[in-house]
């Protein structure tokens, strides 16, 4: 269970959001929407434990967690705006880097299967430098496919993905929620996931001025 209590963040003098109480239970997908600059990325970074909120707190499994908290780092998989791919490394090496950082020890075969599943079997040994934007994002999908993390935090996961990849991400999220996982994602487009599991949060921008 991921909760926030009276969470607030500001950028410069402008409050992005304030008094934000939210709760994501196992099996739920929280879709954060809102116009550009409304604080979606900031919220996601706070929830992932990468940034400190201006006010309020984040609770994970009932306990208050600060940035880079060890309890959160054991559980969270964060796919942010930045690709975290090395141009010099191949698709497979990049994927292995991710799973190693997650302390998720896999057979080489599992990596190959995951890349096959996201349609990158032919690009497996190519350096990430020559992959297209969408193909690079698909490596991130393969990472999620292998991840054993409970809490997925995805910032604009649909960017540069084609219809087939979006459908496969939807199926992946459904399966994750089905298995008791949690997900918070920010998106401008709608995702093909079961509505029963989805909750949405609209950030409207400046909630208060001072």
């Amino acid at each position: 269970m991921l909760e926030t209590h009276r969470l607030a963040a500001r950028r410069g003098y402008a409050w992005l959001f304030a008094d934000l109480d939210l709760c994501v239970a196992p099996g739920e997908v929280l879709v954060v929407t809102g116009p550009n600059g409304s604080g979606k990325t900031t919220l996601l970074r706070i929830l992932a434990g990468l940034a400190l909120p201006t006010e309020g707190e984040v609770r994970w499994q009932g306990e208050r967690v600060g940035p880079f908290d060890a309890r959160l780092r054991e559980c969270v998989a964060f796919n942010g705006h930045l690709p975290a791919l090395k141009d010099e490394l191949t698709a497979e090496e990049n994927l292995r880097a991710w799973t190693t950082l997650e302390a998720n020890l896999l057979t080489p075969h599992a990596l190959v299967d995951a890349l096959d599943a996201v349609g990158l079997s032919a690009q497996r040994a190519l350096p990430a430098r020559i992959l297209s934007q969408g193909q690079r994002r698909r490596i991130g999908l393969a990472r999620l496919r292998l991840s054993r993390r409970v809490l997925w935090i995805l910032d604009e996961p649909l960017t540069a993905l084609d219809h087939a990849a979006i459908d496969s991400l939807g199926a992946l999220l459904d399966a994750h929620a089905e298995g008791g996982g949690l997900c918070v994602l920010a998106s401008h487009q709608s995702l093909p996931i079961a509505a029963s599991r989805t909750r949405s949060l609209a950030l409207a921008g400046a909630a208060r001025a001072d």
């Binding site: 990468l50 880079f68 690709p83 975290a84 090395k86 880097a97 302390a103």
Partner: protein, 218 residues
């Protein structure tokens, strides 16, 4: 730690251009001094240790931007900081990779380049030994500066201002060791101090760098 080390070495070896530029810079600048000053053996032998040490230091500085900046820009550093593995160990691996790809070749090339300065066998051996002890300190101190300047504008020049004064003691004891041998004395006191500095840096720096990286990401 081993993972970060292997990964960074692999990336450095695949981007041969950058690595080559740093080492070429070292080789070329060291070779320019005998051309620009006098060809007298005595002058060159006096200048040699200081020149080699100073340029080794600049070569290390030149490569510092490679240490964290690329990982910071492409988001890898976020993933590293979010890993359940201890951040201090992961950044230690990165610093070791930095030394293996810059400090170590610089130290190994030194006897070859030192020959241009009419330095003889024992002096060249001390030069290499002092660089082998001193360049890891440069990588470690530099890493703190590189992590602290992440995300700041004009971080390159700021990094130089921050790090160069801290490099000074390493330079003094490193070049001092070589001078001592040239004067017929023992290099042991200088080398012991370098060794002590290295041990201190190995213990303290990873935690400082880990803290600086977390600040930079927030």
């Amino acid at each position: 730690m081993g993972w970060a080390l292997a990964r960074d070495v692999r990336i450095a070896l695949r981007s041969k251009g950058e690595l080559g530029v740093e080492l070429l810079f070292y080789v070329i600048v060291v070779s320019l001094f005998p051309l620009a000053t006098s060809p007298s053996r005595e002058t060159l032998a006096t200048l040699g240790p200081g020149v080699l040490w100073t340029i080794a230091l600049l070569a290390s500085l030149l490569s510092l931007s490679r240490l964290f900046a690329a990982d910071f820009r492409d988001g890898t550093l976020e993933q590293i900081a979010l890993s359940p593995r201890p951040l201090a160990a992961l950044v230690s691996g990165k610093m070791m990779a930095h030394w293996l790809t810059t400090g170590l070749p610089v130290a190994l090339l030194a006897p070859l380049l030192g020959a241009q300065y009419a330095l003889d066998g024992p002096v060249l051996a001390t030069l290499m030994g002092s660089l082998l002890l001193g360049t890891p300190i440069l990588s470690l101190i530099g890493a703190v500066g590189a992590a602290l300047t992440l995300g700041t504008r004009g971080s390159g020049s700021l990094l130089a201002l921050l790090v160069l004064p801290l490099y000074a003691p390493v330079l003094i004891f490193g070049a001092g060791a070589v001078d001592a041998v040239r004067a017929g004395m023992s290099a042991a006191p200088h080398l012991s101090l370098l060794g002590a500095g290295l041990l201190l840096a190995i213990v303290a720096v990873p935690f400082a760098v880990a803290a600086a990286v977390r600040i930079a990401l927030d």
